[in-house]
Amino acid sequence: MDKAELKATIFDIEPYRNEDGPGMRTMVFFKGCPLRCLWCSNPFGLSRDPQLIVNVNKCAGCRKCAEVCEASVNCFKEDGLHVDFKNCALCGKCTLVCIPDARRISGREYTVSEVFEEVQKNELFHRRNSGGITLSGGEVLYQSEFASELLRLCKTHFIHTTIETSGFAKWEAYESVAKYCDLVFNDLKIFDTDRHKKYTGVGNQQILQNIQNLCAFAEKHRKPKVIIRRLVIDGVTTDEDVIAGAKFINDLPTHPEINLLPFHNFGETKYAMAGKEYPFEDKKLLLARDSLMQHVRDLVVEYAPNCVVSLGGGNINA
């Protein structure tokens, strides 16, 4: 099979992003993730399958969606539109009649060449400030064969390549992708294995091993640049975990940069759009200058003296 014809399920391609890599990024979001982090800000990326998304706030109440739906997914009651997401057969007919664009099917299959064509469209913008492509999700390593081929193609066209990953995958799969990356963001959500499992649904032994493998790989090949991302959440992040994580990263080959990300709840409204409940308790939105962030940074600086420490997703230099 021609590798350019490999397929993956993608749920969004967004140009003009300022975060998650140097310069202007074109983000490609892969659909499907093996983790179930309670705080996930991108619930459209959880399921591997395409799904119906409805923004009830945009609904103009014309009831056309109810008329065309053979599975009776859409139902208008006194308080407005109700959507029975489970019975949706993904025929897409309702999206065609919805004038205010309140609904769409999230996720479809793309071939490598289709995605590459989309990325290429932005080359004028990438070249002005060394921007490039960032693969995100969902979990990019969940569809690693596709990702590897896409990144290989980008590298042959001198496009800067970045991935964002949880690191939860077989090392062989990870390596096949990492070898075409200029930059890798690997999350280290929680250092303690049990608590990692509690909050994300999986243990982190494989993730820790992969981070070690990745850093060794980077040292040997002088690429990719590795940045370990640590999410800071009020009430979840503990000093012991921060310190233990910092010590672990400090001793890794190449002493990767540590990027501290303040928690945000911008994804909360997306859960309702996907017919899901927001699983995370009400948490405070953090800003880079909040005292908790400053405190965590101070700890990391103290316990990971070999590493560069940065705050927030923007201003990444690589």
Binding site: M24, L96, L124
Partner: protein
């Protein structure tokens, strides 16, 4: 929404805006002096002055039977001589165009046909109200209006027009009224010559020419009138300044504060020197520039008196002042801020009907920074930075500060401009130099020729006029925003066979059901547009003839290079390059989307017939929701989708070529441009449902931008769509509006303010301890990507102009609900920055509905 909020929204408009924007809260600026003057500006309600009207009525009564040009010249001279000087505390620059700050003169000889109807509501109207004393109102009604009402361009036009006037005066597809009511407007004075030799230089030439006239030559009679008139207007400008000098001296004598006394004595010396003599320092030079603009305000009846390349012609004075110790960067900054206040303080008056569409009192004065020198080097200097920085301190809505961006423009100047963008005031506009030069090199040249400008002239003097029209300082005269052709309405004429409400108003293209292929449909659309262009052209040419006969402009002639030497008034072809009346295209986005929708639904997918579309449009889609959904979901311009973009490219070229075939009364070819200043809302009100699924009465697309909320794929996709088009064929310029979220550029928390940080390369180090301004904390990645977006769109793709609204959409929604919290919020609306609270609710809604990328 609470009832109170609804009530507030309904009463929203300039009147309430003025209430809220008191002098106290707007005391901003780099020094205490500027803060006081800014407070005075905003604390004073706009009013009407009738000194000019009195002069014109008197002079024209006394000169019945004299040549028309002589009468106009005498009136201008008398006006300059008779105005009473006005000097406020804290002022260093002198001169007002009326009896007080924020007062406006009436040009009854142009506007009498509408002012009569509006006079009684002027003070209480919702948008752009003006205070007018009772006795003025009575005098206007009894003495002046009866004299002028049958003399205006519009009144004379109605007697001459060879076609039905209702087709072109607020007609179904075109309107030419802007042209007819703007005599004396859209101009860049020859500041270079003026600063070099003063008014006396022009006076001496006129005298020399007069002396050498051979009265045996029949042509010399007209020349004699011209040169005598010019000489007298020059002397009258001197007299105007002398009156100010006397008033300053008188004030100084009575002044007890020793510092203020000295300032007033300096003002006296200033006004005894300029504008008659060539300025010797920065203070005199900036006063000269102000007077040149102000004299145009006084004589002209229209807007867009342009400062153009201020940082270039002022730089020698700046440099000299720093060298000889008479000037500091802070002092220059203060003068510039005072100039900005003066420009904002001269309101423009429009009819009540038009105030709903173009409200905001705004005069469209451009001030440009950057660009190239005549030898092709980067022209930026410290003043370029100071002009941008001044706007951050003083926060006025005038002038429109613009960056002339070239590949050679340093990044630091671009970043300074982006930092001004981040303030969310709509300043600055970004222009691409090379596209500007390419447009101008074919200006007035028609389809097969070129314009009269040399490359060197363009590099030295070219800059935008009015909103974004192409201009060349001192060398170009003519109206650049004359007639509007609503191509969205034209496209509908295909479905009504040229009829509106049962009456034939445009071309006959037959029953739409007989259009068997897309090509036939496209040809029918072209036929309709061509017909409308022709109507607009006929109307404006008659106007041009009337203006040349009866509406001479001595001040604009004096400020045009070579016009006095050549002995011809600018309305009669005296300028180096005569331009206009131009044809302005509105509603391109709606047209492109409508054609793409018809192509997709009718001719490609065959899901409906032309008869179906005709029926749906006639019913405003009621009962045709399914068809409307199909039309709405068709590919749209602004998403980098070639299905729609190739239609755009075809129509873009066709319309330009149809316009450039046409000749003006003065003999040059007509130039096309793409604009709409808020008028997309008003034009939309009169436009039936369109085939892109747009409902009747809602706004049509504005400028050359994608239709509202149609550009769903983000700023780069929109940019790529625009970048496919060939800009230079719109020889009179294009406008593009985009949104970038302010939170992309600065940290969200507005309370947090950074220090001034590193002094930018090029910006002098400023010590402004009294300033009210403190800079926000910038997001580095957001700022560099924003700067690169601009570079890519302009320098790489060749897009001519782009302007950004960088206020968050949620801010606008909140400002609409709670206007009292946002009295000084400024937004950019197609070519100029206006106070949010001065906009009509409909226009506010339109601004909000434009796609905010990354929101």
């Amino acid at each position: 929404m609470s009832q109170e909020t609804v009530a507030k929204q309904e009463s929203m408009g300039g009147a309430l805006g003025l209430e809220m924007r008191s002098g106290k809260i707007t005391k901003v600026g780099s020094t205490k002096r500027i803060q006081e003057l800014n407070g005075l500006l905003h604390g004073t309600r706009p009013s009407i002055d009738i000194q000019r009207v009195r002069v014109y009525t008197k002079v024209f009564r006394e000169t019945e039977g004299e040549p028309e040009l002589q009468r106009r010249y005498k009136a201008s001279a008398e006006m300059y001589r008779s105005f009473k000087p006005v000097i406020y505390d804290h002022e260093r620059l002198a001169g007002w165009a009326a009896d007080k700050i924020r007062a406006c003169q009436l040009a009854l000889e142009i506007h009498a046909h509408w002012i009569g109807d509006d006079l009684d509501q002027l003070e209480n109207r919702m948008y752009d109200p003006f205070i007018i004393p009772e006795e003025y109102r009575d005098e206007l009604k009894e003495v002046h209006l009866p004299y002028w009402k049958d003399q205006t361009v519009v009144a004379l036009m109605l007697k001459r027009l060879p076609i039905d006037p209702t087709l072109v005066m607020s007609g179904p597809c075109t309107t030419i009224e802007n042209y007819l009511t703007n005599v004396g407007s859209h101009f860049i004075a020859d500041f270079w010559t003026l600063l070099d030799r003063g008014i006396v230089g022009t006076y001496d030439i006129a005298q020399e020419k007069l002396k050498n006239l051979d009265l045996d030559d029949p042509q010399s009679f007209d020349k004699q009138i011209f040169y005598k008139g010019i000489s007298d207007v020059c002397l009258a400008m001197k007299d105007y300044a002398t009156h100010y000098a006397d008033a300053a001296a008188e004030k100084a004598a009575a002044e007890t504060d020793i510092i203020r006394k000295q300032e007033l004595l300096e003002m006296e010396a200033l006004m005894r020197w300029v504008p008659w003599n060539a300025p010797r320092n920065f203070y005199e030079a900036i006063e000269m520039v102000w007077l040149a603009i102000m004299f145009q305000f006084m004589e002209g009846a229209g807007p867009s008196q342009t400062l153009s390349r201020f940082d270039q012609y002022m730089y020698p004075f700046y440099k000299k002042g720093l060298e000889d110790g008479t000037l500091t960067p802070e002092l220059a900054l203060e003068y510039i801020e005072e100039l900005y206040i003066k420009l904002t303080a001269n309101p423009w008056i429009v009819s009540t009907a038009r105030s709903y569409l173009v409200g905001g009192y705004y005069r469209y004065s451009h001030l440009d920074v950057g660009g190239l020198t005549k030898h092709g080097r980067d022209a930026s200097n410290e003043l370029s930075y100071l002009c941008l920085r001044a706007m951050r301190h003083v926060k006025t809505n005038a002038p429109t500060v613009s960056l002339l961006l070239h590949q050679k423009t340093p990044d630091s100047l671009l970043y300074e401009a982006c930092a001004l963008s981040a303030e969310g005031m709509g300043h600055p506009s970004f222009f691409n130099c090379e596209t500007l030069y390419a447009m101008l090199s074919h200006k007035t040249g028609g389809l097969h020729g070129t314009g009269p400008y040399t490359r060197e002239q363009l590099l030295e003097y070219a800059g935008p006029v009015g909103c974004t029209e192409t201009g060349v300082g001192g060398l170009q005269f003519g109206h650049t925003e004359s007639t509007t052709v609503n191509v969205a309405a034209c496209s509908n004429m295909v479905f009504s066979d040229g009829e509106k409400n049962g009456k034939l108003v445009n071309a006959r293209t037959g029953d739409p059901a007989t259009l068997k292929t897309y090509e036939e449909y496209e040809n029918a659309v072209k036929e309709q547009i061509k017909h409308t262009i022709k109507l607009a052209h006929i109307g404006s040419t008659v106007g041009e003839q009337i203006i040349a006969e009866k509406f001479a402009l001595p001040t604009y002639t004096i400020f045009s290079r070579g016009a006095v030497e050549g002995g011809q008034d600018v309305t009669r072809g005296g300028a180096y390059c005569n331009v206009g009346p131009t044809i302005v295209i509105s509603g391109f986005g709606t047209l492109f989307d409508s054609m793409a929708a018809v192509k997709k639904v009718v001719y490609v997918d065959k899901e409906a017939t032309m008869a179906d579309v005709r029926a749906a449009l006639g019913a405003n889609f009621e009962g045709y929701e399914d068809l409307r959904a199909k039309l709405v979901k068709a590919p749209k311009y602004g998403n980098n989708d070639d299905f729609a973009d190739s239609i755009a490219a075809e129509m873009w070229t066709y319309v330009s070529e149809e316009i450039r075939k046409l000749k003006a009364y003065l003999g040059h070819y007509i130039d096309p441009s793409i604009k709409t200043v808020q008028t997309n809302v008003g034009l939309g009100e009169g436009t039936d449902a369109t085939a892109n699924g747009r409902l009747a009465g809602t706004p049509i697309s504005d400028t050359m931008s994608a239709s509202q909320q149609a550009d769903t794929h983000g700023p780069t996709a929109a940019a790529l769509s625009y970048g496919k088009l060939d800009f230079p064929i719109y020889t009179n310029g294009t406008i593009l509006n985009m949104w970038v979220s302010r939170s992309e550029l600065i940290e969200d928390d507005l309370d947090e303010r950074g220090d001034d940080g590193e002094v930018m390369l090029g910006l002098p180090h400023l010590q402004t301890p009294d300033t009210t301004y403190s800079p926000p904390v910038y997001k580095e990645a957001g700022m560099t990507n924003f700067a690169n977006l601009i570079r890519t769109m302009l320098n790489d793709m060749g897009i001519y102009h782009i302007q950004f609204n960088t206020v968050d959409k949620k801010t606008l929604l909140d400002a609409q609900a709670h206007p009292e919290n946002y009295p000084t919020l400024i937004v950019r609306v197609a070519g100029y920055s206006v106070y949010w609270s001065d906009l009509g609710t409909k226009t506010q809604n339109d601004v909000i509905s434009r796609t905010a990328h990354n929101f």
